[in-house]
């Protein structure tokens, strides 16, 4: 029961990170007339290390990013 309450942290962090990364990257206004699109399709924990002051977790993230031209704004 205690374990179930704790396990959510990592899951939440991974999901939060994936969502937030996609959110920040998707439609990110790079410059006038340009936008970015992202799709993250791979999320994994590659390594976990415990140090004297905390935990290091290496997450592998894979996906595709792209920069496209969007609507033209007349100057």
């Amino acid at each position: 029961m205690i374990q179930e309450n704790i396990n959510f942290y990592l899951t939440l962090n991974l999901n939060d990170t994936k969502k937030e990364l996609e959110k920040q990257l998707n439609e990110y206004p790079l410059a006038t007339g340009f936008r970015m699109k992202s799709k993250i399709d791979q999320l994994s924990v590659d390594n976990i290390q415990i140090t004297s002051d905390g935990i290091l977790i290496d997450m592998g993230i894979g996906g595709n990013l792209g920069i496209f031209t969007s609507t033209v704004q007349k100057k």
Partner: protein
Amino acid sequence: MKEQITTIATKINKMTRLNLFFTFLLTVFIIMGCSGQKELVSPTPQYNTALIPLPVSKLNIPVNLKLAVLETIINSQLTGLLYEDKDFNDGDRMKVKVYKRNPIRLSGKENEIRYKIPLTIQVIYDAMVTNVSASGEIELEAKTSFKIAKDWTLKTQTDLTHYVWIKKPVAQVAGMNIPLGSLADVILNNSKSYLGKQIDEMTATYFDLKAIVASAWSSITRVLSVSEEYKAWLLVNPNKVTMSPMVIQGDSIQTYLSLSAKPQLNIGEKPMTNGVTKIPDYAQVLGESQRTILVLRTKLPFSETKSLTLKQVGGQTFSSGKKSVTVEDVNYFGISWLDFKK
């Protein structure tokens, strides 16, 4: 208490590595509310001091610029009167007005953008005794080649390569048709550099690559807030950016931006940036993968794991049969990491 720990330990074998990790950490609980039990003796902390190096991540970003967008920009900017020669006395004895007749059409191949520019030309010729006027229609062909300077400035060079008279200008003098086409050719040669320069200036204004790269670089060198609740901060830590040559494929200008970085996710206090603010010089690379693969190192301090855990289970009582424990405090430390990894 021992039974509970044994139960948890039994479950460990059936769990994934991640679940195992957190379950393992739970065994370091200092549980104060377990009546009738001896105080749990914490094992000696053990740490693997040799950190696994963080591999360099590669963000490969295909860039796709639709020629249709560039075409729209050019057509919205180049309208009406494009060129005017108001002076009879500049060596050609003509005044000329050049208008855009129809929308400019773009196409491209390899590293050149090609244009077809339909124009109407109005000519007034100083025939000494009188002035004669005529108008004609012409289609110009131009091409733009581009290269990127070290400071990410996109340099374009537009040249008029060819033109075809659709209707040569013919003046009527005393009922006679006098063709002015050959004289207008002279004017066209003079206006070549002017029109090319116009297109180059427009391209520089609307496709300011340096500004785009600077904006993107500024964004990714900042500390980004990922989660306010968990006080999570993302540092991308980029150190290199390269770009493949721009080529035209189909209806688009295509290139690949590639970014090398060592991203970190910090939980807790907002970290400092690594201080790299200057955009690295443009470096050209050939052929890049379209896929982005990055390894994100998350730093989770024990102070935060403690705080997060207490928020979740602090003060709660867990029962098993007649026994119960209440979580009053939690401390994290590491132990036997190598064994755990097995």
